[in-house]
Symmetry: C2
Subunit: 439 residues, 2 copies
Amino acid sequence: MPEAQHSASSVDSPRPAVEKHRRHKPLRIALFGFGTVGSSVARILVESKPQELKLTHIFNRNVARKRVDWVPEGVVWSDDADAVLGSDADVIVELAGGLDPAGAWVRRALEAGKSVVTANKKLIAFHGVDLERLAEAKGGHLKYGAAVAGGIPVIPGLEQGLAGDHIVRIEGILNGTCNFILSQMQEGAEYAPVLATAQAKGYAEADPTEDVGGFDARAKLAILMRLAMRVEIDPEEIVPKPITTIAAVDFSYARDLGCTIRQVARAEHFGDRLAATVGPMLVDLRSPLAWSQGTENMVIVKGQYGGNVVFSGHGAGGHPTAVAVVSDLLAMAHGSRRVEVPSAPAKVGAEFEVPHYIRFLVADRPGIVAAITGALAEEQINIRAIVQKAGYPADALPFVVTVEPCKSSALQRALAKVREMDCMLVEPLDLQMLENGGE
Amino acid sequence: MPEAQHSASSVDSPRPAVEKHRRHKPLRIALFGFGTVGSSVARILVESKPQELKLTHIFNRNVARKRVDWVPEGVVWSDDADAVLGSDADVIVELAGGLDPAGAWVRRALEAGKSVVTANKKLIAFHGVDLERLAEAKGGHLKYGAAVAGGIPVIPGLEQGLAGDHIVRIEGILNGTCNFILSQMQEGAEYAPVLATAQAKGYAEADPTEDVGGFDARAKLAILMRLAMRVEIDPEEIVPKPITTIAAVDFSYARDLGCTIRQVARAEHFGDRLAATVGPMLVDLRSPLAWSQGTENMVIVKGQYGGNVVFSGHGAGGHPTAVAVVSDLLAMAHGSRRVEVPSAPAKVGAEFEVPHYIRFLVADRPGIVAAITGALAEEQINIRAIVQKAGYPADALPFVVTVEPCKSSALQRALAKVREMDCMLVEPLDLQMLENGGE
């Protein structure tokens, strides 16, 4: 069994770390999944030749079509998961994704005392706590630095570098697909053609729901909340808002308000209450959240003592994610252990009270503004501005109302009345406005 | 002796990490230095009460005047360094700074088998390699996450999160004092009054040479180069340029060029050759380097596989630096070990070839431009633009020449001829232009 699985200390052997691991055999690595990320991991291992790591197995369905000539001869190619799980590999690198069968593979590997490195945010978001306990009980390790913002060392940063702080807020741009779509739409395009471009470039799946619906970002937020805020939540307590209802006109109005639109995942402690949300939001053009372009990711954590820290870079893609996987493998080989932070189950019980942007699309007629303002007034929501740009037809007129900080639930009650009006051509679009993003 | 000093593995004890460290006694911490950072460390330990850490000693000269009532009663206050070094403290937290006597204290602590956490960039830049070897030989640990960009987890990010990549370039805004001065000057002020403001706010020392001369940033760059690029350099091979020669007029010209000015520390591998430099530079207003405001720090590393990663936040100040110290202490208590990256001695032998901005201040007379362009032509340096803004007096006329990418050494030879001209009122100011900062 590899050194990484035995970093328990023994009081009488203060032997220096470097000398020690050089004498040990390299960790034997089995890749589960040889797609973009898996082949990038293999590529880095082959090119960089870290002496601590040895690629021994590659598992993939129909593995024959995956075979490449640049992988060393001794590596076993297999489409038999059981055989690879039962092999002498020390670490399973799980890159298949999804809960099933990846979850079963990970569990079996950990039960056999092997260690696991995974990029599977869904598995870690829903079952990470259990899997970590299983790893501890069996003497293995579980690392998932690639699960959130793959190419950006947010997880080691939180575990190692900010463990001494008390993180009170997380704001993240955690989904590269959404950021690509929204930063392209910022230039004037509509959603559908940009999605098609994203699909053509391989940035979006044929069924993009997981990304554009906010489910991917939600899973990553749940992982960050556990590591940074030390709360274990049920990801399904957060109902994400999709970006699919954003139109080019919203970017035009946003710009007039000094903002742009990004898919943001946020969580914050308000005393002992916890708020968390995922969806498209207006962000100030001067805030760090507006810096992210294309498929970039960004995470901003606010510490009680250290203030804001911004991490930014390529969150996904084969090579950046593979760097995170190889870094996790090296950390295991060197016996590096995460700083264990106690986390506890928690409920998402609070709401953010922020200004909102509400865009209506109406067949114009007298009395619409009076009806909207009346519905808002009934919920004690104060209007900040009513904005209507020239140049749109009266039979499909977009206009915007911004309101002072209020709870989404109160606003939804007000909008429930408004949306029953005949003149509403589409559902009113309600977006939170992050005026102080990253401050 | 504490667990942190004995993370050597023993093959027959796969006991889970969490259970294990909970059974052990907390690490006993001695603070050397109770200034801004030291008292912030004590404050976090007292408020957060991490069970793994116990503050036992506080050393400071004339310690009586430092005593505060919120530190627990059992803590020993001392102005006797020998006594504290000889005590039962497990870890010395060195916050005195400078090479002497801090270096001697650190060495003695390590020789006694204790571990050390330090924020002392100068000590680590000049003696880090030796001190790490000493720590390894004696069974202790040396951590210095607070030495570079204190509140930003760059060092854990590099050691743990990017170990799997091959870092080819570092660009950093590593000195908060310079960034405060330059970002204030960006608003139109001159150097001297802004320095006075910085001194009044406690952002600059009475003698600011270490900061504004670039020596502080140079030490930090040397540390980052070792961790990220795995080269051990003599910091004195880098001759930093001071920011003291920058004037308000330079920000005015920079803005016309779509740029601002920042103190940047950069290093890059060109094949097996290494370039490194520290000084004020023109940075594109759209580049991440222009985002940093006030005393913020930023580090951008470019990996062969993962591309650019940006870290940003509060680089200095009591609380952010203290977070880095406490995080290092927690990592020690949890037996976390850095990923050992092999580094090797290297020479800074290459030069950057980038465009330059050259500002002249002259008593205007015919023939000046002809003389300058002639001197540049002799060195095969191509002029990109000659810019002269209206509104300045002819007897003290600032004007700017920008040139295509060239080596600083060639430009210096050309400028050596120019600066002999009678009409030159001050030394020509030559700044590198980072057109692709962070890209």
